[in-house]
Symmetry: C2
């Protein structure tokens, strides 16, 4: 499906470990005032001054988290950064640095790694994070990417998962479910391609869904938006593993229950029509599909007026007493219990 | 070679990703005042106050960096932490936190991961670092461990690779080469075992070498020692990839050359006798063998009197003009050019 437009193959073993690292990291710029020393010593040195440091880490494994049959390496590099930056955004903090470690099998030529690092560099520029360290080594099989993201925030601005209160409104940014359906479309095209490699896929009707899957963005804008609206969320999390799974984290750590209204879920029109085409229930997709990298947060009910007109934010329900449980209220006004069916990397 | 003393096997898929993470991380304690929030949110929150933060990261891959045939998982967990903590020590900083991400194939039962985490927990306690985050996922093949270590230091105390000056003395802590020879002994025993599994290895003559390979320690004591001796190194690096490779990093980043004296290299008597047994030149081992996790640093020549009596520190040479090159002076007073032949993870 992905044509090899670059027939040149340079063996990474030729360069050696240090040569490879030098080659791949030479384009990284340092732009954050908190970065005193980036790549090139035993460790990077950072100065967060009176701000708190926020640290998150993620491990992405080929064949588990991504499939190179339809995920171009440049997009993969970009997405790997986005997934980590999103965790920093979910603390209401500003992403500032990342470290990037990769392990690759010898089947990857240098040109493939250059593509991967081009995506990482592009994302680092887009999100204004400095690449301050990492490690490059070989793997027994496939590609593994480990990223650690750092950010900074004033102590008073940081939002945890544990602050939601009964009656708080539950708010989601953007729309949800599209990344999951994008993956379904790509999986189908992969199968078509395997049957007939000459088949040229027509993906015009799926552009938004595919973009959400292949080039998602982290909501770095939300911190500023909420500041402008003068709203501080009481709890927050990012939606990487699916809405139902994430809202249950908020409930568990805040000791509350929740009620979500099916009719309030923000779905893109393309998602709805493609769900129909695939004969999949769009609510199920919106609730359980992961990788949207939107933010889910709670606000005090008094703050409703401040956010209600904003097109980026949708109130999808509210928190309630823990003893009242966690429910989805359907369009037919049925109350069904929420189950976390988010993505589980350990399932076979 | 490693007997399976625990026949119980619990599938990690049964627990699920969050269950597994809860299970493995419940014993981690928070002891550092700079850790405001550890595991359990989108990110950890740290407060370094007026200190600088120091960050380093490493990726360890089964079959590339370690062999589970002779590396018990508990030792592996311990060593993975040590390798990262050592990078923080090499900045003359105090290790404070780590994140630990692992990817495992389904052949690993829960009990194996418990062993790995027991080693990580033991090291975290020994080095007084808080485990503040991580990720646990499945791999296509083998075990992958990604650790990011954080530390703190006063700006004035941090030592970079780039500060060495002409005529500075080159100092190494402890002794070198033993970890490499420990690996050779283990490799030999593995081959003996493969030929005859009933053969019981007698490792009494190799205990020190094997311990250096299987349970190395990072030199967290050196920062305090140097403070007590009132010496601030001009440059520093840890010896993970071999002395020759590491000294060349110091030379390159400090724009100097160096002269190392063969007769000064600190070798353990056991290393010398086992090198004879294996018919390997002990100097070659001391210069090129990695994984000792000792520190290599330079000091101003005026500071020599302060360190000369210390049994932990050995002056092995000095820095010189860059144009004079990098040399080893042999016992026969021959001057041979140093070549970095340190370990390269990308070689086949």
């Amino acid at each position: 499906m992905i044509e090899d437009k670059n027939p040149q193959r340079t063996s990474i073993a030729q360069l050696g470990e240090f040569g490879l690292i030098d080659h791949l990291t030479k384009h990284f710029e340092i732009n954050q005032p908190s970065t005193l020393k980036g790549i090139g010593d035993d460790a990077a040195v950072l100065d967060f001054k009176d701000k708190k440091a926020v640290v998150s880490t993620d491990l992405l494994v080929e064949g588990v988290h991504f499939d190179l049959a339809y995920m171009p390496l440049k997009h993969l590099g970009y997405k790997a950064v986005v997934a980590n930056v999103s965790d920093i955004c979910a603390m209401n903090a500003k992403p500032t640095q990342i470290t990037v470690s990769i392990a690759v099998s010898n089947r990857f030529p240098l040109e493939a790694l250059e593509d991967l690092f081009a995506g990482i560099t592009h994302a680092a520029k887009e999100y204004n994070v400095d690449v301050i360290g990492g490690d490059t080594t070989s793997s027994q099989k496939g590609l593994i990417i480990s990223i650690t993201a750092l950010g900074e925030a004033n102590a008073a601005d940081i939002v945890y998962r544990s602050g939601a209160k009964e009656n708080d409104l539950l708010v989601v940014t953007g729309d949800i479910g599209a990344a999951y359906m994008g993956l379904q479309v790509l999986e189908r095209e992969k199968q078509v391609f395997q049957v007939n490699p000459n088949n040229q896929p027509d993906l015009d009707n799926y552009t938004y869904l595919i973009e959400r899957q292949l080039k998602p963005e982290a909501r770095k804008d939300i911190k500023d938006l909420l500041e402008k609206l003068e709203v501080k969320p009481t709890s927050m999390i990012d939606i990487s593993d699916g809405l139902s799974s994430e809202v249950m984290h908020l409930c568990k750590q805040s000791n509350v229950g929740c009620t979500i209204y099916e009719e309030k879920l923000p779905l893109d029109p393309q998602l709805i029509s493609v769900c129909e085409e695939f004969n999949i229930d769009s609510t199920t997709v919106a609730i359980n599909g992961g990788e949207d990298y939107e933010l889910l947060f709670t606000i005090a009910i008094e703050d409703f007026d401040k956010i209600k007109a904003n097109p980026n934010l949708t109130v999808i329900g509210h928190m309630n007493k823990e003893t009242e449980g966690k429910h989805l209220v359907t369009r037919a006004n049925q109350k069904i219990e929420l189950k976390a069916r988010g993505w589980n990397a350990l399932e076979e």
